[in-house]
């Protein structure tokens, strides 16, 4: 019986916590905006970094392919191969 009572008491407290004295429609959206904006601010540079490094790796790959091609195919000439 006491566990049921304490369970009801705790869930009652939790319910009143979420109701925020009747101001729930103002308090919780405010906290939601806070967390959503900061999460977006955390994620955006990570995405940019991943994209940047991907592009850099692609560019390096293209450069190394071109380097190998110029080194193997072209006969020795006075002009240096373009990088």
């Amino acid at each position: 019986m006491s566990t049921l009572q304490s369970f009801l008491a705790v869930s009652g407290e939790a319910a009143s916590f979420f109701k925020m004295g009747g101001y729930a429609t103002y308090v919780w959206p405010a906290y939601a905006v806070f967390f959503l904006v900061l999460i977006a601010d955390t994620v955006a540079p990570r995405l940019r970094r991943r994209r940047l490094l991907g592009e850099l790796r692609a560019r390096l790959a293209r450069q190394s392919v071109r380097h190998e091609r110029d080194a193997t195919s072209a006969p020795p000439s006075s002009t240096p191969p373009s990088a």
């Binding site: 925020m20 004295g21 308090v27 405010a30 906290y31 905006v33 977006a40 940047l52 850099l56 790796r57």
Partner: protein, 252 residues
Amino acid sequence: MANWIPLWLHRLSSPPTFYRFAGTLLPWAMALAVLCGIIGLYGGLVLAPADYQQGDAYRIIFIHVPSAWMSMFIYAVMGVSAFIALVWRIKLAEVVAMESAPIGAAFTFITLVTGSLWGKPMWGTWWTWDARLTSELVLLFLYLGVIGLYHAFEDRRQGARAAAFLAIIGIINVPIVHFSVNWWNTLHQGSTVNIFGHSKISWDMLWPLLTMTLATKFYYAASLFRRARTDLLSLESGKDWVRRIAEGEADR
């Protein structure tokens, strides 16, 4: 002439050194931000009693006020590093100034929205054109102007210098926001937290507020480190140290 500048500060302005430095501190700053956030929010949402006038709606203070303080603090940091960038043309100062702008804009936006959500139940209106709200909105436009001007230039460093100039012109707005409640008759309440005097807020509510302030400061440091590292990778993309990082991460 530059003997008073400690050597470690000088070394720090080198991009690969700052990249490593920021990379080491970043997880600690983020962890401290989350820790202080949890403690502050628990203290504010659960432990602190309801306000006798505002009931539970006042609990928005624990995110509204730290965000407002950050919106002004970040602008001040941005202004100082913009000044350093313009006068001494230090690349890292440009990066710090330009990458602080989006974070500052985010906090200003949070301030305006949470303030509006707090104002509706308390003042009966979502918005009013009083001095503090108007100057905070102008602050948001200044941040957006700095970001927009920075991205409008083809040459990133030239764009950074132009945006730094704009940031310095706009710095006059920061004291206006701060002192607006003293200089004008505003709907927004006056200052209750004083650094040098007695604060009019009870301790039960003050310590979560200060903890959240600390949390947002650590968050700003973490976010700035993250953004600055990414920006340095982009600026220095032709250099060897960036190449090594790109190749190193190919395995991940």
